[in-house]
């Protein structure tokens, strides 16, 4: 699974991208897994109301199902335009 982080999520986690094979079938269980990887992840995902998710470059929710080849991105609410 290819994970991407943007803006302050990227800064808190300390990397912009990583490859993982987590035991997660949906976004919620992926986040639960990530929060156990270290305090940087715990802090980044402390308040899920501030996190937005994309799966394969489409906006998605916590219940979106995941497969091993998916690209999952975590980022703050967008501020473009």
């Amino acid at each position: 699974m290819n994970l991407l982080y943007f803006a302050w999520v990227r800064q808190k986690i300390g990397k912009s991208e990583e490859q993982l094979t987590p035991p997660a079938k949906d976004v919620a269980s992926l986040i639960a897994h990530l929060k156990n990887l270290g305090p940087n992840y715990t802090e980044a995902f402390a308040d899920l109301s501030r996190i937005r998710i994309a799966v394969n470059q489409c906006h998605a929710g916590l219940d979106a199902s995941l497969g091993p080849d998916d690209e999952v991105a975590f980022f703050p609410p967008v501020t473009g335009g």
Binding site: W8, Q57, C58, H59, A73, P76, V78, T79, G80, G81
Partner: protein, 148 residues
């Protein structure tokens, strides 16, 4: 409908973009929105980050949706990334149609969804401090009026 989407560091040329949309008189009406980095106190730099590929895909989805709602002949969206200064242009959304009201509405629709759906993030530099701009909840309200 012709759709042009560009994510770029460089500035853009309004004359060229709007003329290309009008297509030598194929469309009579072009509505456009140009966004600027606002001058604000000690703001020195605005740095824009985005999610490559998803940005273009998301804007293409929004333009396609606009094309199903209104009779459009063309849509152009240009969004700048990288380091910008107060007074710099950030974004252009321009929409061409035979009908002025369709062009206006589609342009406003695209700006509202761009603000809430396109994966861009702004970081401000003020003095020697940097901070991420917070999402405006007013932008979420703006989008609600387009929901069917």
């Amino acid at each position: 409908m012709q759709t042009r989407i560009r994510i770029q560091r460089e500035d853009f040329d309004l004359n060229a973009e709007v003329s290309a949309l009008a297509g030598n008189g194929e469309a009579g009406a072009v509505a456009s929105f140009t966004g600027y980095v606002r001058k604000e106190g000690d703001l020195s730099t605005l740095t824009l980050e985005h999610y490559p590929h998803m940005t273009e895909a998301e804007i293409m989805r929004l333009a396609t949706e606009a094309g199903t709602r209104w009779p459009l002949t063309g849509v152009t969206v240009i969004h700048r990334i990288g380091s910008l200064k107060p007074g710099d242009r950030i974004v252009l959304v321009a929409v061409a149609s035979q009908h002025r009201q369709a062009a206006f509405q589609a342009c406003e629709f695209l700006m509202d969804y761009l603000k809430t759906h396109a994966p861009f993030w702004k970081q401000e530099t003020r003095g020697d401090k940097q901070h991420w701009v917070e999402h405006r909840h007013g932008d979420d309200d703006a989008v609600k009026r387009w929901e069917k």
